[in-house]
Symmetry: D3
């Protein structure tokens, strides 16, 4: 068993997946996503690498479904599951980052009332309110910097 | 309490919601969706009406998110929840009906491996295989009819 | 560790819980419930005993909530969870057995559309239809036997 | 598609559902429920209206199941699902408001240990403790006001 | 119905289950577990007794599966369910208490990414980080006491 | 966007992960597991590759947790989630394949009654009974072949 128990090596082609995944992570989640991954460094550094390689390097890098649709799908799923608020917030921001409008995000969450119940939709809207408010603060901050520059 | 316990009346404007909902249901789910609703007639006829009025008359009739995105959202959510196979199949067919491609459906389901685990994605693909196969049989049947006409 | 690892003994007072639980199980689920428990004899006989002792001997035997309300609560919860169809059917029958009406069962399930989504409610109604149909066959069979006696 | 994409109109009979729903919401959830709905005004005002119309105007206004049983059903379901703590608290208060006793609420939650596991029941009891404590503070405040009046 | 509605008596053999369960609870969860149970005294004292009797007196006291495997199973299940963070933390500590290593706990949680999705695994790792940090503070405190003794 | 939308290439190091994953899949799930993966060839061939690479090539190939514990963790999680019966059966067989005893599997599933409720445990035992029965038929078939050889 010792042979198969070796830690997965981390050479050439995995580096491609890692680089591709990291670029995708930055595109979708911005520096917030990178920070989430970095926060794993102390407890599960290999998992930080796997998060970049599989979801972002393998799945989000696939053709066949545009990024806007991918983010709508994730916002819908995490709202419906209702047990992953931190990740839902990251992906509401991710949806905004790839061009999904606030209205589209709110409609996606509202629709989940039909499939997962009103509490799931209400808690999804609470998450969206928080992300939208943060985005406004950031925008105002940038505007101030620009105005004073 | 008797006064508030009256059955909801079913007059003018509810008829608008009902008509609008029924049209939407036909557009998305075709005659299959209508049959699901009709099957409720024996056990919960009021629920048949509510299914048409709220999900289809109220939610699916809203502007702000196109039908393709709505169906991608539902396929994602029901795959992730993993406990509503019959409704997932109806909505995989619904997604096809409103122009989502097979590739897009498969990608949406595959992506759920990241958010709800591989078993959820595998069972979602099993549902898709069944719906796609049924669609092919229907297409061949139509082709035969056309060819022999 | 050997001392604490002994199989739980099955003496005096556990027998009280067991007897009390078995009576409660018969009262709620009838012979159907007894059969479910008996079906565990081959694979997990101790679990059969625990099912009678804890849920029925400990919980259902408590004062403070009448049996009708307990069965409404279970039908609601299992409909909402949506991943335990066999047990939902047993408890829809159990609800009928302790005097919950068909209308009350259907209303309880319909209400879950609000809290767990329409697919959960639709699948709950499918379970109810099956149990109600079986009950009618049983009633007709009894009627025939009585008529021919 | 433009025609069906119109926002749902809000005329005569929907007003009946809205009025009926709002009355029901006040009866069950008191001013707390109204505040939850009002908090949606900024992010999803239409959803605020839908929450009043469908769950309260359509479902809770139906005959066939008394309000006490409806609230027991909701407390059971939300305890079992375990992913909607804010709504569970609102409905524990709602149950108290329509005459369910503390003992009945505690028994309903305890019973969920059987159907959804001990963690779900423990977290449900934590929610109940918080609501009961708040109710006592409110009662004492009223008592003080009355005593000093 | 009055007869069956008597509160479960609490005599001889239940005392055995209770004593056995309490010993098991202390072995696995330490004083933290005892405190959780004690916190139920105000709202549901009977449930405190049932938590000790059934999970710990009946289930954890069974032979056939060693305690390390039992705690790995619980950490896996609660991570996957994703809706019981307080109990997950108690059992990560419990796993440490019965000799599961930090590495084994982290691997168990990481593996849940495959079966319940990356958000569930990420939130499980967050819980583990918190428990591990607390354990280090406790260890340093003990070390200081020992060093100064 | 065209550049990042290229399908993941499948060269050198991914082949290592694939080979390592395939070996692991055979070790745990035997030919049954290989068949599950092969059944994806028609609908989602890339997903078949990803199933081998990530769960088996990346996760199951990691040191730090022995295969027996990994399979106990999966049986626990899938029993608790209760919405993935086909995968639960595959992993009950997988647990047997890597040396977990029937008793240990039954105890793991029974324990889930505490964390996810009795219905989840009962449905897990139903899955186990089916897998155990199949294993016995296979053993008898082998015995007959050996006896007649």
């Amino acid at each position: 068993m010792t042979n198969t128990q070796q830690s997965p090596s981390n050479t050439s082609n995995d580096n491609l997946r890692y680089e591709r995944g990291l670029a995708r992570l930055r595109e979708i989640d911005g520096e917030g996503g990178v920070k989430v991954v970095e926060s794993l460094a102390d407890i599960a550094p290999d998992f930080a690498r796997l998060v970049i390689e599989f979801p972002f390097g393998d799945i989000y890098s696939r053709p066949g479904l545009d990024l806007r649709s991918r983010e709508i799908a994730v916002v819908a799923a995490l709202t419906a599951m209702g047990n992953a608020a931190p990740q839902l917030k990251v992906h509401i921001q991710g949806a905004l980052n790839v061009g999904v409008t606030r209205t589209e995000i709110v409609e996606t969450i509202m629709q989940m009332a039909v499939y997962a119940g009103f509490p799931a939709a209400l808690n999804g809207l609470t998450a969206a309110r928080e992300v939208f408010a943060r985005a406004e603060v950031a925008t105002r901050a940038t505007a101030t910097v620009t105005a004073t520059a």
